[in-house]
């Protein structure tokens, strides 16, 4: 179930399929009543299993997108390892005057939107080629809320 992010708190979770020089994390949206600091500690110690935005995105994908998702994850690994990628695959989409950098990774019909965090990247949203405008609005709204709430 996707929670309404306005009534939520945020924690982060490492993406286990992506290993590199940079940390690669995904946002986890939890109910407002949750003790987010404690939950974050439990996630970091692998004491709880909880789905993040990328996990939810993956599990909702139709079978025809599974191959693209593997390609997308391969691209994330290249980003995490600071390896060469064309702008068509990985691009900076930060609007003017925005301080925190925004990026898009794309593979075939799939899109992933992420921001720069200390030592790496944080995925806030997964989207689709035919829904870019609406996905970008959602992504920027999530980014604003995440930064306002300071992560926890």
């Amino acid at each position: 179930m996707q929670l309404n992010s306005f009534m939520s708190k945020f924690v982060t979770k490492t993406i286990e399929t992506v290993i590199g020089r940079q940390q690669f994390k995904q946002l986890v949206i939890v109910e407002d009543k949750v003790d987010a600091i404690r939950l974050q500690q439990q996630i970091d110690k692998n004491e709880v299993e909880i789905d993040g935005v990328l996990d939810v995105y993956e599990s909702n994908l139709e079978d025809k997108y599974k191959s693209s998702f593997r390609g997308m994850t391969a691209l994330m690994n290249r980003v995490a390892n600071l390896q060469s990628l064309p702008e068509e695959k990985f691009r900076d989409i930060t609007p003017d005057k925005e301080i925190v950098k925004e990026y898009e990774i794309k593979y075939q019909d799939l899109r992933v939107y992420l921001i720069k965090i200390a030592n790496g990247k944080l995925i806030l949203l997964g989207g689709f080629k035919n829904n870019q405008d609406s996905d970008l609005k959602k992504f920027r709204a999530l980014k604003r809320q995440f930064l306002e709430k300071g992560g926890y």
Binding site: T17, E58, R70, A74, L75, Q83, E88
Partner: protein, 137 residues
Amino acid sequence: MKLTREDLLKSNEYWKVQLQNDLYGIIEEHMKKNNLTRSNLAENLNVTKGYVTQILKGEFDHKISKLIELALACNKVPLTYYVDIDEFVKNDALGKVYEVFPITRMQHVTYESKNPQPQAKPGAKISFEFQSSLATA
């Protein structure tokens, strides 16, 4: 079912993305270094500009002979080596990565026995014993 690191490393897509974007990397670097436009590069390689554009999108998916030609045109050799997949996955889990580096080629190798045989005295007869399954059959 959720994608695991092992599934990813054993997938066609993972290796395709690596090869396509490594090739993009060397071509991009070559173009910058030599101040080449896409049109210049297409002309040098005797291919269309659209072909170059496809490679620069990280979407090369052509013949091996073309891959070699492109690498050589960028003054690179396309070193390829093959590693056992389970060993690769195991090493990945241990945080080990594979790198290519040169080592000195071995020449005139002399093998020394750790158990030297007694030297025969000059003029002594040397006899050998052979065992054959045919002899006892």
